[in-house]
């Protein structure tokens, strides 16, 4: 097979060997149902409990504050829906941001239909939420603030600790979607005053289809799924034992290698961004220059469209992502890019390169050698570029 380079770690990551090996026994020898009282069941239960303990320790949470879910999406849905349903006597107001993942945004929209009032806080041009604005929006009927730890498209890291101080003081629950942050941001739910936190294993070299929700002890919540008594009666469904073991192994590994990985990623990312900016004109960096995920580079290329860039890169063996409308199937470009104030035109020309631990400096070189030609070719084809060059008169 020809050379392939993966720059789409924000979409998903390859499972770590060590993680996979830790999981395998739970598909075959130790396949028991953790609810069963026989030895098969008890072995599986022991594995789930150990995994819960490991996961809790990484977040500085308690053992009985970790609940495994079927995905990051489920954790987000549950956090918001669960708090809303259990606290509606207290109030019907939820505060979130305009740049949340759809797992949060669409859950909020559904709650609006059910009579809740949702404030979607704007962000600045870097994608930052202003904690003061969170504070001023909190009213007597506010029950929940849900702000993501780091954005999946532009990589901006939010001041969650500052927001946590405010929500604690005001007596409002704070949920954070940490799906993109786990593995590259140190998280301490006590220090940061987080009441609920969503995570998903496939973003940190764990398996797909397994996530977790941290729920601070005492948080008033309804379940999302009803059925068996799993997860202390709060999340029904037979535990995905191999997935849970994988999640815990992956989160521990990610935490212990975090500083080292981050250093390497930041170096590669900055070289990539600087390289693109020097080699190509009319490029904008989306997101915050410093407060951003170590592996995230999001760039907009004027006069051209994202999908044609993605396909051209793919033909050269490079896998990336874009916020253009034509990659989403809708007519609008990404809501995140619009929220940071980009024009539709610039948003359509966005390219997200999300680096991971398997990437190398050589791959960055190859990318920097490959991209300028692609951009030049598409720009030569673009009527917008033609206008920019001084215009063509046909009158």
């Amino acid at each position: 097979m020809k050379k392939r380079i993966y720059f789409d770690h924000a979409a998903t990551t390859a499972i770590n060997r060590e993680v996979l090996e830790a999981m395998l026994p739970y598909y075959s020898q130790e396949f028991g149902n953790p609810s069963s009282i026989h030895s098969y069941g008890q072995q599986a239960k022991k594995a789930v409990d150990q995994a819960r303990d490991k996961t809790a320790k990484v977040l500085n949470a308690g053992f009985d504050e970790i609940f495994f879910t079927g995905s990051g999406t489920e954790a987000d849905n549950w956090a918001i829906h669960g708090v809303a349903m259990a606290n509606k006597k207290k109030g019907n107001h939820i505060i979130t941001s305009a740049i949340e993942h759809h797992a949060v945004l669409y859950t909020c929209q559904r709650l609006e239909k059910a009579g809740f009032r949702v404030t979607y806080l704007p962000v600045d041009r870097y994608g930052l939420v202003d904690p003061k604005q969170v504070e001023s929006e909190i009213g007597p009927d506010t029950i929940l603030v849900s702000i993501m730890l780091a954005n999946n498209e532009i990589g901006t890291i939010q001041p969650i600790k500052e927001i946590g101080k405010i929500t604690k003081e005001k007596g409002v629950y704070l949920h954070t979607d940490a799906v993109q942050g786990v593995g590259s941001i140190a998280i301490d739910v006590c220090d940061m005053n987080i009441d609920l936190l969503s995570l998903s294993a496939h973003k940190f070299y764990g398996p797909k289809g397994i996530g977790a929700l941290y729920i601070r002890k005492g948080t008033k919540m309804t379940p999302l799924l009803y059925g068996g008594a799993q997860e202390r009666n709060r999340r029904a469904g037979t535990e995905n034992t191999p997935g849970i073991v994988g999640l815990a192994t992956a989160i521990e590994l990610a935490r212990s290698n975090m500083e080292e990985n981050n250093q390497r990623l930041i170096k590669m990312r900055d070289r990539l961004i600087d390289g693109v900016m020097t080699k190509i004109d009319n490029v904008v960096l989306n997101g915050h220059p410093e407060l951003r995920l170590p592996g995230n580079a999001n760039l907009s290329f004027e006069f051209i469209e994202g999908e044609s860039m993605l396909l051209s890169l793919d033909l050269k063996g490079i896998a990336a992502s874009s916020g253009s409308a034509c990659t989403s199937g809708s007519l609008d470009p990404s809501h995140v890019l619009l929220a940071i104030g980009l024009s539709h035109e610039i948003a359509h020309g966005s390219l997200r390169l999300s680096l991971g631990i398997d990437n190398t400096e050589e791959e960055i070189d190859y990318f920097l050698d490959t991209l300028p030609e692609i951009v030049a070719r598409l720009r030569e084809m673009s009527p917008l570029f033609l206008q920019k060059k001084g215009g063509y008169s046909y009158v």
């Binding site: 999908e307 044609s308 199937g329 539709h344 359509h348 084809m381 673009s382 009527p383 033609l386 046909y394």
Partner: protein, 127 residues
Amino acid sequence: MYSEKVMDHFINPRNVGEISEPDGVGEVGNARCGDIMKVFLRIEDNVIVDVKFKTFGCAAAIATSSMATELIKGKSVDEALAVTNKSVTEALDGLPPVKLHCSVLAEEAIQKAIEDFKEKQETKVGA
């Protein structure tokens, strides 16, 4: 997700460029929706003797621009008007359903360029 023909026309688009002092020019779409196409026509004796395009858009938009210009080259103005997004899409062995809206662009740009040609004809006659 794209047919081989679409990829071929995306990688090697035919008729990219501009025509100076064209007999007809048409631009449709806008940067808002993510696709823009501009078509330039050279028309002699009611026959499209040359056509060029510039497109801002996804692979589907670029490939349909390329195919549509191929389909009208050497054709009469009336034959060119009969080229629809359906015929362009078929000539490309189809497009994914979500991409059909991108293929309308070429049909519209060609129609607009021909309208422009006809208007210019009228002003010439009138003068």
